[in-house]
Symmetry: C2
Subunit: 123 residues, 2 copies
Protein backbone atom coordinates (compact mmCIF):
# COMPACT_ATOMS: atom_id res chain seq x y z
CA UNK A 1 0.00 0.00 0.00
CA UNK A 2 2.89 2.32 0.70
CA UNK A 3 4.23 2.20 -2.83
CA UNK A 4 0.68 2.54 -4.14
CA UNK A 5 0.22 5.66 -2.07
CA UNK A 6 3.50 7.10 -3.25
CA UNK A 7 2.36 6.93 -6.84
CA UNK A 8 -0.92 8.70 -6.23
CA UNK A 9 -0.12 12.26 -5.48
CA UNK A 10 -3.77 13.17 -5.15
CA UNK A 11 -4.61 10.25 -2.92
CA UNK A 12 -3.73 11.36 0.57
CA UNK A 13 -4.75 14.98 0.59
CA UNK A 14 -8.09 16.67 0.86
CA UNK A 15 -9.20 19.23 -1.67
CA UNK A 16 -8.18 22.78 -0.72
CA UNK A 17 -10.82 24.40 1.53
CA UNK A 18 -10.50 27.66 -0.34
CA UNK A 19 -11.24 26.03 -3.69
CA UNK A 20 -14.31 24.38 -2.19
CA UNK A 21 -15.56 27.72 -0.83
CA UNK A 22 -14.82 29.50 -4.12
CA UNK A 23 -16.84 27.04 -6.16
CA UNK A 24 -19.67 27.06 -3.62
CA UNK A 25 -19.80 30.81 -4.11
CA UNK A 26 -19.05 31.31 -7.80
CA UNK A 27 -20.25 27.93 -8.98
CA UNK A 28 -23.88 28.89 -8.58
CA UNK A 29 -25.35 29.60 -11.99
CA UNK A 30 -24.70 33.23 -13.10
CA UNK A 31 -22.67 34.30 -10.05
CA UNK A 32 -19.32 34.13 -11.85
CA UNK A 33 -20.69 36.02 -14.83
CA UNK A 34 -22.15 38.76 -12.62
CA UNK A 35 -18.81 39.30 -10.90
CA UNK A 36 -17.05 39.24 -14.29
CA UNK A 37 -19.29 42.00 -15.64
CA UNK A 38 -18.89 44.14 -12.53
CA UNK A 39 -15.08 43.83 -12.75
CA UNK A 40 -15.39 46.28 -15.65
CA UNK A 41 -17.17 48.80 -13.47
CA UNK A 42 -20.40 49.48 -11.57
CA UNK A 43 -23.65 48.88 -13.41
CA UNK A 44 -27.34 49.50 -12.98
CA UNK A 45 -29.63 46.52 -12.63
CA UNK A 46 -31.04 46.78 -16.15
CA UNK A 47 -27.61 47.18 -17.71
CA UNK A 48 -26.30 44.21 -15.78
CA UNK A 49 -29.20 42.15 -17.00
CA UNK A 50 -28.54 43.13 -20.62
CA UNK A 51 -24.91 42.09 -20.22
CA UNK A 52 -25.81 38.54 -19.26
CA UNK A 53 -27.94 36.90 -21.96
CA UNK A 54 -30.51 34.50 -20.58
CA UNK A 55 -30.60 35.64 -16.97
CA UNK A 56 -34.06 36.41 -15.58
CA UNK A 57 -34.84 39.48 -13.51
CA UNK A 58 -35.62 37.31 -10.51
CA UNK A 59 -32.44 35.27 -10.82
CA UNK A 60 -30.25 38.36 -11.18
CA UNK A 61 -31.91 39.90 -8.15
CA UNK A 62 -31.41 36.74 -6.08
CA UNK A 63 -27.78 36.38 -7.08
CA UNK A 64 -27.01 40.03 -6.35
CA UNK A 65 -28.54 39.59 -2.90
CA UNK A 66 -26.37 36.52 -2.28
CA UNK A 67 -23.23 38.23 -3.56
CA UNK A 68 -24.09 41.16 -1.31
CA UNK A 69 -24.55 38.89 1.71
CA UNK A 70 -21.07 37.44 1.31
CA UNK A 71 -19.52 40.87 0.87
CA UNK A 72 -18.59 40.77 -2.82
CA UNK A 73 -21.11 43.29 -4.15
CA UNK A 74 -22.63 46.47 -2.74
CA UNK A 75 -25.89 48.06 -3.76
CA UNK A 76 -25.88 51.84 -3.93
CA UNK A 77 -29.02 53.91 -4.22
CA UNK A 78 -28.74 57.37 -5.80
CA UNK A 79 -31.50 59.66 -4.60
CA UNK A 80 -33.79 60.57 -7.45
CA UNK A 81 -35.74 61.45 -9.21
CA UNK A 82 -35.18 59.19 -10.92
CA UNK A 83 -34.04 56.90 -8.16
CA UNK A 84 -31.31 54.66 -9.52
CA UNK A 85 -29.71 51.61 -8.03
CA UNK A 86 -26.13 50.76 -8.88
CA UNK A 87 -24.22 47.57 -8.10
CA UNK A 88 -20.49 47.51 -7.70
CA UNK A 89 -17.85 45.15 -6.42
CA UNK A 90 -16.34 45.59 -2.97
CA UNK A 91 -12.57 45.40 -2.60
CA UNK A 92 -13.05 41.69 -1.88
CA UNK A 93 -15.01 41.19 -5.10
CA UNK A 94 -12.61 43.28 -7.16
CA UNK A 95 -9.74 41.14 -5.88
CA UNK A 96 -11.11 38.29 -8.02
CA UNK A 97 -9.87 40.09 -11.13
CA UNK A 98 -6.59 38.15 -11.54
CA UNK A 99 -8.38 34.81 -11.13
CA UNK A 100 -11.14 35.72 -13.59
CA UNK A 101 -8.51 36.97 -16.01
CA UNK A 102 -6.70 33.62 -15.82
CA UNK A 103 -9.96 31.73 -16.34
CA UNK A 104 -10.83 33.87 -19.35
CA UNK A 105 -7.34 33.34 -20.81
CA UNK A 106 -7.65 29.61 -20.36
CA UNK A 107 -11.06 29.58 -22.03
CA UNK A 108 -9.73 31.64 -24.90
CA UNK A 109 -6.80 29.29 -25.40
CA UNK A 110 -8.58 25.98 -24.97
CA UNK A 111 -12.36 26.28 -25.15
CA UNK A 112 -13.39 28.95 -27.60
CA UNK A 113 -13.29 27.81 -31.17
CA UNK A 114 -13.36 24.18 -30.13
CA UNK A 115 -16.18 22.06 -31.50
CA UNK A 116 -19.09 21.58 -29.09
CA UNK A 117 -18.60 18.59 -26.86
CA UNK A 118 -14.97 18.97 -26.33
CA UNK A 119 -11.61 20.54 -26.35
CA UNK A 120 -9.45 17.80 -27.77
CA UNK A 121 -6.69 16.67 -25.44
CA UNK A 122 -3.35 17.72 -26.86
CA UNK A 123 -1.24 15.09 -25.26
CA UNK B 1 -28.80 58.40 -22.31
CA UNK B 2 -25.35 59.02 -23.73
CA UNK B 3 -23.95 60.43 -20.50
CA UNK B 4 -25.72 57.70 -18.58
CA UNK B 5 -24.08 55.11 -20.77
CA UNK B 6 -20.68 56.70 -20.28
CA UNK B 7 -20.94 56.26 -16.54
CA UNK B 8 -21.86 52.62 -16.67
CA UNK B 9 -18.81 50.76 -17.79
CA UNK B 10 -20.54 47.44 -17.55
CA UNK B 11 -23.62 48.59 -19.40
CA UNK B 12 -22.78 48.23 -23.05
CA UNK B 13 -20.78 45.07 -23.14
CA UNK B 14 -21.75 41.46 -22.92
CA UNK B 15 -20.13 39.13 -20.45
CA UNK B 16 -17.02 37.44 -21.84
CA UNK B 17 -17.93 34.23 -23.72
CA UNK B 18 -14.98 32.43 -22.20
CA UNK B 19 -16.07 33.24 -18.66
CA UNK B 20 -19.55 31.95 -19.46
CA UNK B 21 -18.13 28.69 -20.83
CA UNK B 22 -15.76 28.30 -17.87
CA UNK B 23 -18.54 28.61 -15.34
CA UNK B 24 -20.80 26.30 -17.33
CA UNK B 25 -18.02 23.75 -17.12
CA UNK B 26 -16.52 24.25 -13.67
CA UNK B 27 -19.61 25.73 -12.04
CA UNK B 28 -21.30 22.36 -11.85
CA UNK B 29 -21.12 21.07 -8.32
CA UNK B 30 -17.82 19.21 -7.64
CA UNK B 31 -16.24 19.76 -11.06
CA UNK B 32 -13.89 22.50 -9.86
CA UNK B 33 -12.85 20.46 -6.85
CA UNK B 34 -12.16 17.36 -8.97
CA UNK B 35 -9.89 19.34 -11.29
CA UNK B 36 -8.21 20.96 -8.28
CA UNK B 37 -7.38 17.56 -6.77
CA UNK B 38 -6.08 16.18 -10.07
CA UNK B 39 -3.80 19.22 -10.50
CA UNK B 40 -1.68 17.58 -7.77
CA UNK B 41 -1.36 14.40 -9.79
CA UNK B 42 -3.28 11.41 -11.15
CA UNK B 43 -5.51 9.55 -8.73
CA UNK B 44 -7.53 6.37 -8.55
CA UNK B 45 -11.28 6.65 -8.25
CA UNK B 46 -11.37 5.70 -4.56
CA UNK B 47 -8.58 8.11 -3.68
CA UNK B 48 -10.26 10.90 -5.57
CA UNK B 49 -13.46 10.23 -3.70
CA UNK B 50 -11.68 10.35 -0.34
CA UNK B 51 -10.15 13.70 -1.30
CA UNK B 52 -13.53 15.34 -1.80
CA UNK B 53 -15.65 15.06 1.35
CA UNK B 54 -19.33 14.67 0.64
CA UNK B 55 -19.18 13.54 -2.98
CA UNK B 56 -21.10 10.36 -3.79
CA UNK B 57 -19.71 7.57 -5.92
CA UNK B 58 -22.35 8.20 -8.56
CA UNK B 59 -21.74 11.93 -8.67
CA UNK B 60 -17.97 11.52 -8.93
CA UNK B 61 -18.44 9.03 -11.72
CA UNK B 62 -20.81 11.35 -13.60
CA UNK B 63 -18.54 14.35 -13.22
CA UNK B 64 -15.47 12.42 -14.37
CA UNK B 65 -17.40 11.31 -17.44
CA UNK B 66 -18.37 14.92 -18.20
CA UNK B 67 -14.85 16.21 -17.63
CA UNK B 68 -13.63 13.44 -19.91
CA UNK B 69 -16.14 14.35 -22.63
CA UNK B 70 -14.88 17.94 -22.73
CA UNK B 71 -11.27 16.83 -22.82
CA UNK B 72 -10.09 17.88 -19.37
CA UNK B 73 -9.62 14.44 -17.82
CA UNK B 74 -8.50 11.09 -19.18
CA UNK B 75 -9.24 7.68 -17.73
CA UNK B 76 -6.42 5.17 -17.87
CA UNK B 77 -6.87 1.50 -17.19
CA UNK B 78 -3.86 -0.49 -15.97
CA UNK B 79 -4.17 -4.17 -16.83
CA UNK B 80 -4.50 -6.22 -13.68
CA UNK B 81 -4.84 -8.11 -11.68
CA UNK B 82 -5.85 -6.04 -9.93
CA UNK B 83 -7.26 -3.90 -12.68
CA UNK B 84 -6.89 -0.28 -11.64
CA UNK B 85 -8.37 2.83 -13.16
CA UNK B 86 -6.53 6.11 -12.88
CA UNK B 87 -7.77 9.58 -13.73
CA UNK B 88 -5.46 12.35 -14.78
CA UNK B 89 -5.72 15.79 -16.31
CA UNK B 90 -5.02 16.34 -19.99
CA UNK B 91 -2.80 19.23 -21.01
CA UNK B 92 -5.98 21.30 -21.34
CA UNK B 93 -7.06 20.43 -17.80
CA UNK B 94 -3.59 20.97 -16.36
CA UNK B 95 -3.53 24.43 -17.96
CA UNK B 96 -6.15 25.49 -15.40
CA UNK B 97 -3.47 25.44 -12.71
CA UNK B 98 -2.70 29.21 -12.72
CA UNK B 99 -6.40 30.08 -12.56
CA UNK B 100 -7.09 27.63 -9.73
CA UNK B 101 -4.04 28.93 -7.91
CA UNK B 102 -5.37 32.50 -8.15
CA UNK B 103 -8.80 31.38 -6.92
CA UNK B 104 -7.24 29.54 -3.97
CA UNK B 105 -5.13 32.59 -3.12
CA UNK B 106 -8.16 34.81 -3.22
CA UNK B 107 -10.10 32.43 -0.98
CA UNK B 108 -7.22 32.27 1.47
CA UNK B 109 -6.96 36.05 1.62
CA UNK B 110 -10.63 36.90 1.76
CA UNK B 111 -12.84 33.94 2.59
CA UNK B 112 -11.11 31.57 4.96
CA UNK B 113 -11.25 32.71 8.53
CA UNK B 114 -14.18 34.98 7.79
CA UNK B 115 -17.33 34.41 9.79
CA UNK B 116 -19.97 32.35 7.97
CA UNK B 117 -22.25 34.52 5.94
CA UNK B 118 -19.71 36.90 4.75
CA UNK B 119 -16.37 38.37 4.03
CA UNK B 120 -16.79 41.89 5.31
CA UNK B 121 -16.25 44.54 2.65
CA UNK B 122 -13.06 46.42 3.38
CA UNK B 123 -13.90 49.63 1.64
Amino acid sequence: MTTERGREVGACKKVDDGITRVFQLLGKRWSGQIVAVLIDGPAHFAALRRSIPGISERMLSDRLTELGAVGLVVREVAEGPPLRVTYRLTEVGAALEPALHELAQWAKAYLLGQPPGGAAPRD
